[in-house]
C-alpha cells in the first residue's frame, strides 16, 4: 500500500500507511480529551484532518474566503536579530507590512521582558511613535511577564527554583507572591507608556512561562490596565497548554491557576479583559505531526466553542502541531495552520 509522507514532531520525515495516519489522529485527539477533560474530535472532523494530512501537495491551504488574520509575537526579534538582517525595527515593520504583507505586527525590545524595558521606556516610546507615523497595519508592543527576572541574581527576591529543591516550599511560595506584585507594577508602567506612544495594543507573550504566579501577574495587570485605560487592546499568548504549578495555591476569581488547560485559561483571560487570546499547545517531538495536529485542534476547538473573544492559537516552532525545529518545514506548518482554522475554528494565528 502506498505510504503517505508526513513528519515527526521533531521535523524528521515519516511515511505512514492510511491506517497508521488515522490511528495517530485518533490517539492524538484522545490524548487531548483525556488531559483537558474535553470532548474529542468527531469522526467527520477526523476524516477532514485525514484529508489535510494526506494531501499529496507540499503546501495546503484554506479555501478562498476562509482566510484568517495573523498576529505576531517576538516580531522585531525574528528578522533583524535571529535572521541577522541588518535593519532597525522601523525597517523590520515596513518590510513586514509592504513586502511580507503581514496583517499586524509586533515591536519588542531584544530582551523581550517587561522588567528591563522599564529602564529604557523613553527610547521605546520614541521608537513606537516613529513606527506609528509610518506603519499602516496595526502594530502592537509585546513583552513577556518573565517572573524569573525578579529573582536573585537578576532581581531582589529569593529564587524559588533554588528554594524548592531545598524543601523550602513556604518560602518559595512567598517569593513568587512577592514577584507577582512587582511584575504587575512593571507591566502596568510599560503598557501604559506604550499605549501613550500610540501602540495599537499590548501583547502579553509567553504568559505562564514561570508558572502560575506568572499567569496571575498577567491577569491582574490586564485587569488593572483595563480599569485605568478601558480602550487599551490586549492580546495574551500563553506559554503552554496547562499552567505549570510552581506555586500551586494561587487563585484568580476563586479559580486555582495551576494545572488549568487552554479553555480554562481562556475563561480567566476573558474575565480579566483580554481582547484576543492565544492558546498554546506544545508539540511532542516524539509523536507524529498528525498526532500533534489532532491534539492541538481538540484543545483549540474547546476554546473556540466557549469563547466570546477572538482566538489566535500559536502556530509556530514547537507549538500548535508545528514541529520542534528552528527550520519548521512548510508542509507541516501549512497543514497545522489549515487544521487549526478549519477544525479548531481559530479566528487567527
Amino acid at each position: 500500500m502506498k505510504k503517505i509522507f508526513s513528519r515527526m514532531g521533531d521535523g524528521s520525515a515519516l511515511w505512514l500507511s492510511e491506517d497508521e495516519l488515522r490511528q495517530d489522529l485518533r490517539t492524538g485527539t484522545e490524548d487531548a480529551a483525556d488531559r483537558g477533560k474535553i470532548g474529542p474530535l468527531s469522526d467527520d472532523e477526523l476524516e477532514r484532518l485525514f484529508e489535510i494530512c494526506a494531501a499529496p501537495q507540499k503546501v495546503v491551504s484554506v479555501e478562498p474566503g476562509q482566510e484568517v488574520v495573523h498576529s505576531f509575537d517576538a516580531g522585531t526579534l525574528k528578522f533583524p536579530l535571529r535572521g541577522g538582517v541588518p535593519v532597525d525595527r522601523l525597517g523590520t515593520v515596513m518590510a513586514h507590512e509592504r513586502a511580507f504583507c503581514s496583517d499586524t505586527f509586533e515591536v519588542g525590545h531584544s530582551d523581550y521582558s517587561f522588567k528591563p524595558v522599564k529602564a529604557i521606556i523613553a527610547e521605546e516610546r520614541q521608537s513606537m511613535e516613529q513606527i506609528q507615523l509610518n506603519a499602516t497595519i496595526p502594530v502592537y508592543y509585546g513583552a513577556m511577564p518573565n517572573l524569573g527576572l525578579y529573582t536573585k541574581p537578576d532581581g531582589p527576591i529569593d529564587n524559588w527554583s533554588e528554594l524548592l529543591p531545598m524543601g523550602k516550599v513556604q518560602e518559595a511560595r512567598e517569593a513568587q507572591e512577592e514577584a507577582c506584585e512587582m511584575a504587575i507594577q512593571d507591566i502596568f508602567f510599560v503598557a501604559e507608556a506604550m499605549h501613550e506612544a500610540g501602540s495599537d495594543g499590548i501583547n502579553f507573550d509567553t504568559v505562564g512561562a514561570s508558572g502560575d504566579a506568572d499567569f496571575l501577574a498577567s491577569l491582574l495587570a490586564v485587569e488593572k490596565l483595563k480599569k485605568a485605560i478601558p480602550e487599551i487592546h490586549i492580546e495574551m499568548g500563553m506559554a503552554g497548554e496547562f499552567v505549570l504549578g510552581m506555586h500551586g495555591g494561587l487563585k484568580y476569581n476563586d479559580t486555582r491557576l495551576a494545572g488549568l488547560y487552554c479553555h480554562k485559561q481562556l475563561e480567566l483571560a476573558e474575565k480579566a479583559g483580554v481582547d484576543i487570546f492565544g492558546p498554546v499547545i506544545n508539540t511532542k517531538s516524539n509523536k507524529s505531526v498528525p498526532w500533534n495536529i489532532a491534539r492541538s485542534c481538540t484543545f483549540v476547538k474547546a476554546c473556540s466553542e466557549i469563547s466570546k473573544i477572538p482566538i489566535h492559537p500559536n502556530a509556530g516552532m514547537g507549538v500548535g502541531g508545528v514541529p520542534v525545529t528552528s527550520t519548521a518545514p512548510v508542509d507541516a506548518i501549512s497543514r497545522a495552520s489549515v487544521a487549526l482554522i478549519e477544525i479548531g475554528k481559530a479566528d487567527g494565528l
Partner: protein
C-alpha cells in the same frame, strides 16, 4: 489574510477594537467597504478599493497614503478609534 495587499489589516483592526470573532469582523469590514466577504482577500479587488479610498496599499505611489495618513482614513471609514491617530490629533491640535 494579506495585510495591506488585501483587507488583512482592516479585519485585524476591527477584530481587536470591537473584540469580534473573525467572521463577524470580516462581515463588518466588507459592509463598510461595500464588497463581499469573499472579496476581502482578493488582491485584485482590494487594490482598486484601497487605491480609490487612498487607505494605503502595498505599492508605493506618488500621493498614495501610508502610515498615519492612511490610518486617519481607515479610522473614519471603519468607524473605529485608532490610538496613534487619536494621539496624533491631540499632539498636533488637529480637529479633523
Amino acid at each position: 489574510m494579506g495585510g495591506v495587499r488585501t483587507a488583512g489589516d482592516l479585519v485585524a483592526r476591527v477584530m481587536a477594537s470591537k473584540a469580534l470573532r473573525v467572521n463577524e469582523a470580516k462581515k463588518y469590514v466588507a459592509d463598510k467597504l461595500g464588497i463581499s466577504v469573499f472579496d476581502l482577500c482578493d488582491s485584485q479587488v482590494m487594490r482598486e478599493v484601497r487605491e480609490d479610498l487612498n487607505i494605503g496599499h502595498v505599492l508605493a505611489r506618488p500621493g498614495g497614503a501610508i502610515g498615519i495618513e492612511a490610518k486617519f482614513r481607515i479610522a473614519k471609514l471603519l468607524d473605529i478609534e485608532i490610538n496613534s491617530v487619536k494621539r496624533f490629533k491631540e499632539r498636533s491640535e488637529c480637529s479633523l
